[in-house]
């Protein structure tokens, strides 16, 4: 109990609310890094996923991307981004940049995989009907395929967003700040209070991200496509294969 008192005291300590190492600064680093990485990741992954899903061309690329995404650990992305970034930019390549590169790489695979899978799962008859109604390919994509596949696409974005927010603390290893710097400093100084207090913040941030995107996913899906409430939770076809957690 005494320990939790110390943790609460840490949150209330005015020293943690001003200066370069304050909670607002670390939180801002954490959020700005996460948002920038997610947006950049989406800008790369969505067009690729949409193209592959719509045309069916390059499906092997999609599979390869998702396999690599599963195999390389989150720490691995940051570790590899670091020498690349410092090699290209020397001193300038420490801090935000390696963390950004690593997190973008982390954000891409789930979005490519889910966008591709979502579009592929759209009923072929539906696509044919849309074409028969005189829709252009682009209209078929934006007005039929994407709305129908939206849940799956958003699920991929949610996985990426949570992964980015959850991995951002590791940016502290490469000088990128974030709430993770409290954890690393705390570990180095054996300051369990600081480690614990920061870990709770990181966990809350990730859970809020998860819940926020889950809410978005429910809101954004056309009511006509929403699954009835009493449908069983388990989907054997998905649970059987890798990526079962993506939906």
């Amino acid at each position: 109990m005494e320990f939790f008192g110390e943790v609460l005291a840490w949150y209330g300590d005015p020293a943690n609310w001003t200066g370069n190492d304050s909670i607002p600064v670390r939180l801002w680093e954490h959020l700005s890094l996460s948002v920038a990485s997610l947006l950049a990741g989406l800008a790369i992954a969505l067009p690729i996923g949409l193209y592959i899903g719509h045309t069916g061309r390059g499906a092997r690329l999609a599979v390869a991307v998702s396999n690599i995404g599963r195999a390389v650990p989150s720490l691995g992305w940051l570790g590899i981004a670091y020498p690349i970034s410092t090699g290209l930019f020397h001193r300038g390549g420490i801090g935000f940049l390696p963390a950004f590169i690593g997190l973008v790489a982390l954000a891409i695979p789930p979005v490519v995989t889910n966008t591709y899978t979502g579009l592929r799962e759209v009923d072929a008859d539906l696509r044919e009907t849309a074409r028969g109604m005189g829709m252009r390919e682009f209209q078929v994509l934006t007005q039929v395929e994407v709305p129908v596949a939206l849940t799956v696409i958003l699920a991929g974005i949610r996985v990426s967003a949570v992964a980015v927010v959850a991995t951002a603390p590791l940016a502290a290893l490469v000088g990128g700040g974030t709430l993770g710097s409290y954890i690393l400093e705390g570990l180095a100084l054996s300051d369990e209070v600081r480690v614990f207090a920061a870990a709770v913040l990181v966990a809350l941030l990730a859970i809020l991200t998860e819940l926020g995107f889950a809410w978005l996913q429910r809101r954004a899906v056309s009511p006509g496509l929403a699954r009835p409430k009493d449908q069983p939770f388990a989907e054997p076809a998905q649970a059987a294969g890798p990526g079962a957690l993506a939906s």
């Binding site: 989150s74 720490l75 570790g79 991995t167 290893l173 570990l187 859970i207």
Partner: protein, 220 residues
């Protein structure tokens, strides 16, 4: 990266094969403990769900929340209680396997066709016999699929356990590669992690095919 240093030094890898194999050993040990313990707990929970289907929702919700906690946070949250120990690392790693394993074991058991269960009951199987001789063999491919995902995920997560002093391949990636600015170690660590995941994944797939010779490969 230190100025003028080559990006990758194969000679370092060759000189340090003994270190590398030791790190692989550490990595595998931490992984195997987590997956085995996680499987035992998940199996028990799945049996509970088989008997009382109502508990499935809450179990999924709790394991889902655990899964949503970032690994770096979960690895350090128990330090005040269990210190910088293997136990602290395993608590986090086991927590992450639960949602994957419980879901796949339950899904596998629920996928057994009702006629099959009825036939088994009609032949006079007791509940336990039916579980072990009929339901589990049929569910095995989906259970092993879950085991594969859980194992590959765990191998990746163990890299982060180096932050709480567990060594493993994360030690090469972080403690040597990043902190001493030696990219060779980082790249080697990542490549070996990927190789390890792939090999273990294939080994589990081979095991599943041996155990279920009647099932055509139906995994993705």
């Amino acid at each position: 990266m230190i100025e003028g240093q080559p990006f990758f030094r194969i000679d370092w890898v060759i000189d340090n094969l003994d270190v590398l194999s030791r790190r692989v050993g550490e990595h595998l040990l931490v992984t195997v403990i987590a997956v085995v313990v996680g499987f035992v707990i998940s199996f028990a929970l799945a049996l509970l769900v088989r008997r009382y289907p109502r508990v499935y929702g809450p179990i999924l919700a709790i394991s889902g929340i655990l899964y949503a906690i970032p690994s770096i946070a979960l690895f350090v949250l128990f330090i005040p209680i269990t210190g910088l120990s293997l136990l602290t690392a395993e608590i986090a790693l086991v927590s992450y396997t639960l949602v994957i394993l419980v879901r796949n074991i339950v899904t596998g058991l629920r996928g057994v066709p009702a006629e099959v269960i009825e036939a088994a009951t009609g032949m006079g199987y007791t509940d336990g016999q039916r579980l072990w001789r009929v339901e589990l063999p049929i569910a095995l491919p989906i259970i092993v699929a879950g085991l594969r995902i859980a194992t590959v995920t765990t191998i990746g997560l163990v890299t982060i356990a180096t932050l709480i002093g567990m060594g493993g391949l994360g030690y090469l990636i972080v403690n040597i590669g990043v902190q001493r600015r030696f990219p060779t170690a980082t790249i080697t660590g990542v490549v070996v992690v990927v190789l390890l995941s792939t090999l273990v994944d294939l080994a589990l797939l081979a095991l599943q095919r041996r155990l279920t010779p009647w099932a055509k490969a139906r995994e993705a």
